[in-house]
């Protein structure tokens, strides 16, 4: 008995331990991916050489983990120490300096390296077959149903009137001269009423929608694919649109930001790109357009002229009397870019996702919670501490909405 208990205990412990380890591993790998994307992805890919070399197998190439760690933290020091491998590498990448990551801890670096070594290139699958048809769009079905019902109703009405006529004949009530339906006042009134309601609905709808440009998808001077950059290559939005962190404008990046990576990436080898009209796009040729604007000669690897700015077509336009700040939403409000811009990482050519109407803004302000500290460990933004009492009084245990602290007042956006 005792023996059995011991076995059970050991078994339990080992199961527990292995469970803990596997969870731990999972966490580590998870962290590795996040860390990689936050710190490394703008210059490195595990399997492709970008601004920096492909990283998969780096632990085999540099077996000395201590050296590798110190290289990642402070590559300048390693270069200065005269390490041959790294100096050669440095030279082969046009002496492009690598950023310093002095704050990364050993476990964090290990996590990144683990993620890199375990990385498998995602299978390039076409659109998933049998994906559910567009959800929620049942209007056609409803339309057909309505039409069928209307026909049935019309038939029944006709049948009813025929029956009435028959019974009237039987009872000897003189029949009235039959009126064709197109002169029937009831019908005419009915049709006019329907036309008025439907017409009115579309007129009002149209009037409200004047100047709104949902689904606006202009052709841009350079075929720049957010899908390739933010989707496939997982570059953080803020790497290019850094303004969103600091300023009211997210800002289109200047060409020197593009050239950070494209000085090294001069051809496109990913999956085929198509315009909306089905025309195929030569990615490499588009990169050449960038070089032309930046004044960069890829053959010489040098900037040969001052360059000219790219005149992009602006897609998201707010009226002039609206003061919208990206920093407020991204940084203080912790709103995801996709909330307003849609699945940008899946768009080859950017399309306006939301209608950017005032009603749309207000709805979000009514539903969004203020970024207070919560029990889930979110520290919140300390600015809102002045509303703490208000917050606790109003809805204990829950957060209050932006509207409750004045988020729908005129002068929050119009001044």
């Amino acid at each position: 008995m005792h023996h059995n208990r011991l076995i059970a205990k050991r078994l339990f412990l080992s199961i527990l331990l292995s469970a803990v380890f596997s969870i731990g591993n999972g966490l580590l790998a998870q962290d590795g991916k996040a860390l990689f994307q936050a710190n490394c992805a703008s210059c490195h890919n595990p399997v492709k050489a970008l601004t920096g070399p492909a990283l998969k197998g780096v632990t085999e190439r540099v077996p000395d983990s201590k050296l590798l760690h110190s290289w990642i933290r402070n590559n300048q020091a390693v270069l200065a120490s005269g390490n041959k491998y790294f100096n050669d590498l440095y030279a082969s990448y046009n002496k492009t300096a690598m950023n310093l990551f002095t704050t990364l801890t050993d476990p964090e670096i290990d996590a990144i390296l683990k993620y890199v070594n375990d990385y498998k290139e995602p299978v390039q699958a076409g659109p998933t077959p049998g994906a559910p048809a567009q959800e929620g769009d049942n209007s056609l079905l409803y339309g057909i149903l309505t039409l069928i019902l209307a026909v049935i109703m019309l038939t029944l009405v006709q049948v009813n009137s025929n029956l009435k006529k028959l019974s009237d004949d039987k009872e000897g009530i003189p029949a009235m001269e039959p009126i064709p339906f197109y002169r029937n006042k009831v019908y005419i009134t009915f049709v006019i009423l329907i036309l008025f309601v439907v017409g009115g609905f579309y007129v009002v709808e149209g009037a409200i929608g004047l100047g709104r440009t949902k689904n606006y998808q202009p052709e841009q001077p350079i075929y720049y694919s957010h899908k390739v950059h933010a989707g496939t290559n997982q570059i953080s939005c803020l790497y290019c649109h850094g303004g969103a962190w600091e300023s009211k404008h997210a800002a289109v990046p200047s060409l020197n930001v593009c050239m950070n990576c494209h000085a090294a990436i001069n051809e496109y080898k990913g999956e085929k790109l198509f315009r909306e009209n089905g025309e195929e796009v030569n990615g490499t040729a588009e990169i050449q357009k960038l070089y032309a604007h930046a004044g960069y000669d890829p053959k010489m690897g040098k900037y040969t002229s001052a360059g000219t700015p790219v005149e992009w077509t602006k897609i998201h336009n707010l009226p002039d009397h609206v003061y919208f700040s990206h920093a407020q939403h991204i940084r203080a409000g912790k709103v995801q870019c996709q909330t307003c811009h849609g699945p940008i990482q899946e768009m080859n050519e950017v399309k306006q996702f939301a209608d950017l109407s005032m009603g749309w803004c207000i709805n979000c302000h009514r539903n969004s919670k203020v970024n207070f500290p919560d029990s889930a460990g979110n520290n919140g933004n300390k600015f809102y501490s002045i509303y703490e009492k208000f917050h606790k009084d109003l809805q204990p245990g829950d957060s209050i909405t932006v509207e409750k602290i004045g988020g729908t007042e005129c002068q929050k956006c119009h001044y």
Binding site: T213, A251, N256, K314, Y323, S325, F383, I386, G406, E409
Partner: protein, 1054 residues
């Protein structure tokens, strides 16, 4: 006689019929509906059919317009983004305001490459972050449409463009090379820049016999000479008004225009900051001929003729025991002198006397007075002399004589405009024609430049490198905040080039300061800070020599006595000497005293009006004759053969026998028709030039003339005054005032008064709840509040212009001001009290009036479309796009702070016919592309038919809150959020912040000053978020409280 104790206009004073009628009409005129003649809407022909036609047409037009394609907008990023620039985030660069000799350290706000606002540099120990109206407005000068866009040369009749700077250099080299030994003169305003001075002397070294003449339009030669005689230094000391318990000013407008008004206003306010616990303040005597801003703030004010300044100074010195005998003065002034002398000698060592006269003899006597009261070394600091006025009138006079005699081969003019502002400009104009080579570096074709042969415009200070030394040992730096807009080159660069140096001025400047400041780090820190100052400021006196005192006394004794009328020239706070004349913000800034815009005029006393026009302004009916119409009697003022005609304005508190005229107006090209193109569109028709009326006494130019005649002509001229409209309809005064003694005796007087008044509505404590039918709401989170200390506010108007710049407030032009359409969000109400026949009795109070952001706002309730409503932060919000222009809100606002866009002042409508013929040229100028660069991109530009008003700078509040959020911390008081008016104020009269924050300065201010705190028109229960702190006067009687009795007796006497 009415029971009005404080009044803004003569009509209000006498409660005349026209005034009553005007008070009942919120808007003087109906909406301009075209094509209706005077018949009115109902009597018009076929109004219904027309209405339907218009309706149909506009619907069709709107449908057509709407179906047009939405314009495609481009977004163009940098090719190479400068490292620290983020589009949409403002950068701030420290630099230095420079105009005439005036120097103010400022910080320029640069948004996406354009400087759009100037703030004071708080690191400067001179101005400590204060600014003036002129400093605030100078950012607009950068975008002045009249600035020269390229170098020019004259062929005698017209000006041709010189296509390149190199070509100009060649022209200059040829011209300067053929002087044949004749001396070259560089004529500038006062230059304090160490590098510029060095460059000038290097350049002059190449031309033997040449010299540099500094010339100031507002000359301080008198002081410079007197100080040389008394202290052996041709310099001006620093004054320390904060250390003075008794201040006596003999005609020096030191809070408005004299020497260093920003610095002095700050010191003055510091010496007069009263709290409930600390009720001590300085006492200020003002002796002056006209009513100045400084006089308006004085505790005791006495009027005198300009010619009496010298004798009065002598009498004061004699009274203080000086070695002179007192001349005869009339009894009133005699007792005033005794009073002042008593206070001065009681406060020995902490007293100060300043004098605005430019007569060296008078200034020498003032020096002796200051010596007698122990000011030298205490309130007068010789350790850091002021350097920004160095011009000597005698030097200028001999230069003009030399030019006239053909003794000058070449004249290089930079920053000086003697053809306009020299007392004998005619002579200068004749003399400059005899100079062979003339080169001007001025920024436009001004009166002097158009007489020059070669013109190479220098860039604006916001486009330049440079340095300045406002006081010895105190340096202030300039750096470009924008690339030069036009083909200009700095004066220094040109001189360097022409003296054969290969360095640019930028390199020269960098090398000079890098060496001086011990390396590149020091240089960069200096540029970042904008100032370099001594670590420990020192105070000290200078040895005084009384050798020349008796000589000066004798000279004063033999001065000419005045005739029937005397002339006094003065500077307006807004315009100064006219260096920034083409600045619509300044032209539209109401004068602090007269509230007149766009013009200068002859200031006369009420007695003058009675004697010459037979109008008694104290009389109910007669006041209307003067006041109802803006047409002012034109007078012709003659001084020694020179004459100017201009309208006359009656101002209480002006000496009965003095005519005052402001300089700085009446800019005009030689050919009148060129003025708009050469000097600027806004100056056309703006006043008359009064500089020719100044007199030269052989040593200095004096801004007064003992004998002047002033004849009434038959003509009338319209002067656009604000504040003759929008009044409080006879409601209790919105200002409160106490004497220092009363305040010390019963600090709760105002508190008790308020309690008494509100008693029927629950008293002070429960007035909020019981005074209303409406519910009372919680105010969680932020509650914005503002406190305005009327004891600190000097009425200078810096806040008004700052508000213009920050909030894109439009300039409406003179014609529209005449129709009461001015747009100032913030105005400074000026109240008079006292007996208007007795100039010495007039007391003036300034009250900045802006939207009070009432928590129970009357405007909000009457808006039919809810375009104005209340925010949870206590703001009275205005949503322009909702406003349909009913103007009910303005009608219902008890403070009259709402402003309606009667016309399309900003060009926002895109229909040019909404502007043609309605908008003045000056306003149209503001719509040009260039001046529009000054617009703040964070504030909507309002269009026609929309109501607007103070928003508490909501764009700054939003930005400040975001700054705190980004830093993940609560709002920092006084740091994250400041309104434009608060930041511009040189005296810190305005405090703003979150009143819910217990630590905030606004909360503290309200707690510490309970005794002085009041709300304007509190009894209306509008619950303003702006409070005022009562004015305390260190005197015996408050005229506004003395009641009508005294006035009546005085009237009988008169």
């Amino acid at each position: 006689m009415s029971d009005k104790k404080y009044w803004q206009t003569f009509g209000e004073h006498s409660n005349s019929e026209a005034f009553q009628e005007a008070a009942a009409n919120e808007f003087r005129e109906d909406l301009p509906v075209e094509g209706l003649d005077s018949t009115g809407l109902l009597d018009a022909k076929t109004p219904r059919r027309d209405f339907l036609k218009y309706l149909g047409f506009s619907t069709a037009a709107a449908a057509l317009a709407a179906s047009c394609e939405i314009p495609v907008k481009k977004v163009i990023p940098y090719v190479n983004k400068p490292e620290n620039t983020i589009p949409g985030v403002a950068d701030y660069y420290a630099t230095t305001f420079q105009s005439g000799g005036d120097l103010v350290s400022v910080v320029a706000k640069v948004r996406d490459g354009r400087p759009i606002k100037l703030e004071g540099n708080e690191l400067s120990s001179i101005t400590k972050g204060g600014t003036s109206a002129r400093v605030q407005a100078s950012v607009l000068d950068l975008y002045d449409t009249a600035r020269l866009r390229h170098p020019k040369q004259s062929d005698g009749n017209s000006f041709q463009e010189v296509t390149s700077l190199e070509a100009f250099d060649q022209l200059a080299a040829t011209a300067l090379g053929s002087l044949g030994g004749a001396p070259l003169v560089i004529l500038t305003g006062t230059i304090t820049s160490p590098t510029t001075k060095e460059i000038i002397s290097q350049f002059l070294a190449k031309y033997p016999g040449s010299r540099h003449v500094q010339y100031d339009a507002d000359s301080y030669s008198g002081m410079l000479l007197a100080n040389e005689a008394a202290y052996g230094k041709k310099a001006i000391p620093s004054y320390q008004f904060d250390k003075a318990k008794v201040i006596v000013s003999l005609g020096a407008d030191f809070l408005g225009t004299w020497l260093s008004p920003i610095e002095f206003a700050r010191q003055y306010a510091a010496g007069r900051r009263v709290t409930d616990k600390n009720a001590e303040m300085s006492r200020h005597y003002q002796f002056e001929s006209l009513l100045s801003v400084t006089g308006g703030n004085a505790d005791k004010r006495f009027t005198l003729r300009p010619s009496e300044t010298g004798p009065l100074a002598l009498a004061l010195l004699a009274e203080l025991g000086g070695p002179v005998s007192a001349p005869a003065l009339d009894g009133r002034l005699k007792s005033a002198v005794q009073l002042a002398a008593k206070d001065l000698s009681a406060a020995k060592g902490s007293a100060l006397v300043v004098c605005g006269s430019n007569n060296p003899h008078v200034q020498l006597i003032v020096n002796a007075i200051n010596e007698a009261i122990g000011a030298n070394g205490t309130t007068i600091n010789w350790a850091a002399p002021v350097l920004w006025r160095q011009g000597l009138d005698a030097e200028m006079s001999s230069l003009v004589a030399d030019m006239d005699g053909g003794k000058v081969g070449a004249l290089l003019v930079y920053g000086a405009n003697p053809a306009y502002d020299y007392y004998d400009a005619d002579k200068f104009r004749a003399a400059i024609k005899k100079v062979k080579t003339t080169i001007s570096f001025n920024d436009r074709l001004d009166e002097t430049t158009e007489l020059c042969k070669y013109i190479l415009p220098a860039p604006h200070f916001l486009e330049s490198w440079g340095d300045a030394e406002p006081k010895t040992g105190y340096f202030s730096f300039m750096q470009p905040t924008i690339a030069p807009l036009f083909k200009t080159r700095s004066f220094e660069d040109s001189l360097l080039k022409w003296s054969g140096a290969t360095d640019t001025y930028e390199a020269y400047f960098k090398a000079y300061w890098t060496a001086k400041l011990g390396g590149i780090d020091g240089y960069e820190k200096a540029l970042q800070d904008g100032v370099v100052e001594p670590a420990a400021p020192s105070t000290g006196g200078a040895p005084f020599s009384s050798a020349k005192v008796s000589e000066a006394a004798a000279a004063i004794g033999s001065m000419k006595k005045g005739g029937a009328y005397e002339l006094a020239l003065y500077q307006k706070v807004s315009m100064g000497t006219g260096k920034q004349a083409n600045n619509p913000w300044l032209l539209e800034l109401p004068d602090p005293i007269t509230k007149a815009t766009w013009d200068n005029y002859a200031v006369v006393s009420p007695k003058y009006a009675r004697d010459n026009w037979h109008i008694d302004l104290g009389d109910r009916r007669q006041a209307d004759k003067f006041e109802v119409h803006p047409d002012r009697q034109v007078v012709s003022v003659k001084v020694g053969g020179k004459e100017i005609t201009l309208p006359a304005l009656v101002v209480p508190g002006v000496h009965d026998e003095v005519i005052g005229i402001a300089v700085g107006y009446g800019r005009q090209s030689a050919n009148k028709d060129n003025t708009a193109d050469y000097i600027g569109k806004a100056v056309v028709g703006a006043g008359r030039n009064a500089f020719p009326l100044a007199t030269f006494n052989g040593l200095t130019v004096e801004w007064s003339a003992p004998e002047a005649t002033c004849e009434t002509t038959k003509e009338f001229y319209q002067v656009a005054q604000t504040q003759t409209h929008s009044n409080y309809e006879g409601r209790t005064e919105a200002v409160k005032e106490l004497t220092l003694e009363d305040f010390k005796k019963s600090p709760d007087e105002i508190l008790n008064e308020r309690e008494e008044e509100l008693k029927p509505y629950g008293g002070l404590k429960s007035f909020t709840e019981q005074g209303t039918l409406y519910g009372v709401y919680d105010k969680p989170g932020i509650h914005w509040g503002m406190s305005v200390d009327m004891n600190s506010c000097v009425g200078c108007g810096a806040c008004v212009v700052a508000c213009h710049a920050e909030n894109n407030v439009s300039v409406v032009g003179k014609k529209e001001v005449l129709r009461y359409h001015d747009m100032h969000w913030l105005r400074i109400d000026r109240y008079f009290s006292g007996n208007l026949q007795e100039a010495d009795s007039i007391q003036t109070v300034f009250q900045p009036m802006l939207c009070q952001h009432c928590d129970n706002a009357p405007c909000e309730n009457v808006c039919p479309v809810s375009a104005t409503n209340h925010s949870s932060e206590g703001l009275n919000q205005m949503a322009y796009n909702r406003c349909i222009g009913t103007r009910y809100c303005a009608n219902n606002c008890p403070f009259k702070v709402r402003r309606f866009n009667w016309a399309d002042y900003t060009g926002a409508d895109s229909f040019p016919d909404n502007q043609n013929g309605i908008i003045s040229d000056a306003t149209m100028m503001m719509n040009d592309e260039l001046p529009r660069m000054v617009l703040n991109p964070d504030v909507t530009v309002r269009s026609r038919g929309v109501m607007e008003k103070c928003s508490f700078c909501v764009q700054r509040l939003q930005e400040g809150k975001l700054k705190a959020k980004k830093a993940d911390r609560p709002l920092k008081d006084m740091e994250d959020v400041r309104t434009a008016c608060q930041q511009a104020c040189p005296t810190e009269a305005i405090v703003f912040g979150n009143a819910n924050d217990k630590e905030s300065r606004i909360r503290q201010t309200r707690l510490e000053n309970e005794g002085r705190l009041f709300y304007a028109l509190e009894e209306l229960h509008v619950l303003p978020n702006v409070n005022y702190l009562a004015k305390i006067r260190n005197t015996d009687v408050i005229q506004g409280k003395a009641g009508e009795k005294k006035e009546e007796t005085a009237e009988k006497k008169a």
